[in-house]
Symmetry: C2
Subunit: 383 residues, 2 copies
DNA sequence: CATGTTTGTTAGTAAAGCGTACGAACAAAC
DNA sequence: GTTTGTTCGTACGCTTTACTAACAAACATG
């Protein structure tokens, strides 16, 4: 396959320019700009792209011919419009030309994977039970799942994205993932050598946030709260994921919430967010509740705690949106409602009143699709 | 196949390229790169710069000659070293060639301003009592202060930086500053037309954070908490200030902290961070305390609240550092100590244990110097 | 003094994007 | 049917940018 060139365009930051920028980097940026317009804007002609991007028709023609030669863009026929002038030749991303592998390692007991198309649609699913395996054993299980998916793909593969639990650095090393018994595991290079394909690994909550950004309705600055066995968060500010200085951004599960104690957590503290909000705790609370009103109260209390934890974060960051991902039957309804009310009671409407808090629509596939979004972003500069 | 390239490419590059990049933009970036190296690295030769930046000696020579023509860089003589080869001609930023005007509008009853040198040192101070004036009147007072400082400058002025209280948008409009009676005031363009010089306006806490970044010891991702009449914060992630979707990032003062009530705040809620931590409240609490132990307790309680508010923010962002700015006699000591202890008790050491919390060393001039840093960053790309 | 090193500059080349100009293809007006 | 005006995509030449290659100047060392 004529592999698309890796994009290495440097972000032009305002502060502390730390690396030189050459014209070819600008070229890569403009390539991504064209791809982005085609990806999100659908069918467009070269002239449309020129108007949209501000580049000249000549430059667009040059870029497009390069992208067509790389197999990333295709001509899809003429525009059917009764307009005067020469009819436009419509272009589109070669949506039927590539596949992406997306992997979700965050669930308990099972690894989930899929072959996805360029639009993040799922073509083929696969799963692998982990049966409580740990360490290298379970790592090989993950690699095998990737191998199976690669073999199942019907088209050239653009890349492999993996959402892993735990702390993941920028080079795709899982520094720490207690649930899987991993510490300092070079997952990215493992999978790369096993497949010969480009691989991107990130924390599952970060991947989920990217999914919401690319395929969900998230606009602007937002945080995605992922509620499962534990509680984690992914943050996207100005279109860019936030990883944190030690790659531990979003590790909210073991932050104590409130000043009135709380249940004992596995970490030894009392009142961690997880003790209120994790799925096992919620289910246990619901099971112990005698009637519907009591069950409602369990959910409302969890929502309150979420609202309490959100208030300082939203205050510090002035977010547009908070998206919650996890079991709908638990999270959607009283819990989310209570979170919103609590948040509103604890912040100033003038500053943060327009924050929206809602459930994600992406369901269980969110991490796999986020992993695919990582590939699209990393390889094509598209989201 | 270029797949291996992707391994080294940034895992998740900047998303959504939204504007074209031309070679001239890259040129500007490289100009800033040279300036940054000279600014922070001191005297260097052209060859040194070439080695440091990765650009060739030829390109560096070209950039430097342009910068010298612009008066931004000067040759300062030959290097005195017993090395073989042609002796190097040392270069430096033209530190004695320009001044910067820095303005602090955040204090109660007085506007502070200064003429500063390129290194952020204060050359001339000026103040203007506001005498409780509001709206346009006090705006003209600010403009007059700027005019006086411009007249007092002994060298060409690189630009004017202004740290204002309230919400400031990216175009230098003060959207809301209740203390000064401002709403939607186009402060930047006002001062620009009054002086004919480049002006940058930002929120005072953001300016202070930039000061700590440029002239203080802050490294990496950090938040600056500014305690005065109210409480505000400035945030710098990856070397870039965070402004928030409605330019209200850092507005932490009216976030409720804790779940055990608290004093009534001017905003109508109970237990806002300001009710514990603002300077007036702290002073009142100290005055009402019967003895030293009670005064200590007042400070410790305020510190606890700060720690409670910090925990979720640091958890979400995985910061390196939190810097506190304000009256030393109140903040340094039991208050900061209690904040650290509370924070540690509420987060997981594994993720956030290496966070440092400390007082700023920049004292009362922090906003003025931050305003100067804004000019350096905006005009030269230097910090 | 010859030799090797380092510095900074000159000359020529490749890449990227721009402006201008032009042929092709179409709709609308006559 | 012809003319006119519009739009699309491309060819050509120019400017900007940074690179490679080569070289003179200035110094230390043997």
């Amino acid at each position: 396959m004529s592999a698309p060139e890796a994009q290495r365009s440097a972000p032009l930051r305002a502060l502390r320019p730390s690396a030189k920028v050459l014209p070819e980097h600008a070229r890569g940026h403009n390539r991504s700009l064209v791809l982005q317009n085609l990806y999100s804007g659908g069918l467009q002609s070269r002239a449309d792209l020129a108007r949209e991007t501000g580049l000249t028709r000549v430059t667009i023609s040059d870029l497009v011919s390069e992208l067509i030669a790389d197999g990333l863009v295709v001509e899809t026929g003429q525009r059917e419009e009764g307009r005067p002038g020469k009819p436009a030749i419509l272009l589109d991303i070669n949506r039927g030309g590539y596949r992406i592998i997306g992997i979700d390692l965050s669930d308990t007991g099972v690894f989930r994977g899929a072959v996805l198309d360029i639009d993040g649609g799922i073509v083929t699913r696969m799963e692998a039970e982990t049966d409580g395996a740990e360490g290298d054993e379970v790592a090989h299980l993950a690699v095998q799942l990737v191998r199976d998916l690669v073999a199942a793909a019907d088209l050239p593969i653009l890349g492999i994205g993996i959402g892993s639990p735990g702390i993941v650095d920028l080079g795709g090393r899982v520094l720490s993932a207690p649930n899987l018994g991993w510490s300092d595991l070079a997952l990215q290079s493992m999978v790369e050598t096993a497949t010969g394909l480009p691989v991107i690994v990130a924390n599952d909550a970060n991947a989920a946030a990217l999914a919401e950004h690319s395929f969900g309705g998230a606009v602007g600055d937002f945080m995605l709260i992922r509620v499962g066995r534990g509680v984690g968060a992914g943050l996207i500010l100005g279109g860019t994921p936030v990883f944190g200085s030690r790659f531990a951004a979003g590790e909210l599960g073991h932050v104590v919430v409130g000043t009135d104690g709380g249940d004992l957590c596995v970490c030894g503290k009392h009142g961690c967010l997880e003790t209120w909000l994790s799925v096992p705790r919620l289910r246990a609370g619901l099971a112990a509740a005698p009637d519907a009103a009591a069950r409602d109260e369990v959910l409302r209390r969890a929502g309150e705690r979420l609202g309490i934890a959100l208030a300082p974060v939203v205050g510090a960051l002035n977010l547009d949106e908070v998206v919650i991902s996890g079991p709908v039957e638990l999270l959607d309804g009283p819990l989310t409602q209570a979170a919103i009310e609590t948040f509103r009671a604890r912040t100033m409407a003038e500053f943060h009143g327009d924050l929206t808090v809602r459930m994600s629509d992406l369901g269980q596939d969110i991490v796999m699709r986020g992993a695919a979004a990582m590939v699209l972003s990393g390889r094509l500069g598209v989201s």
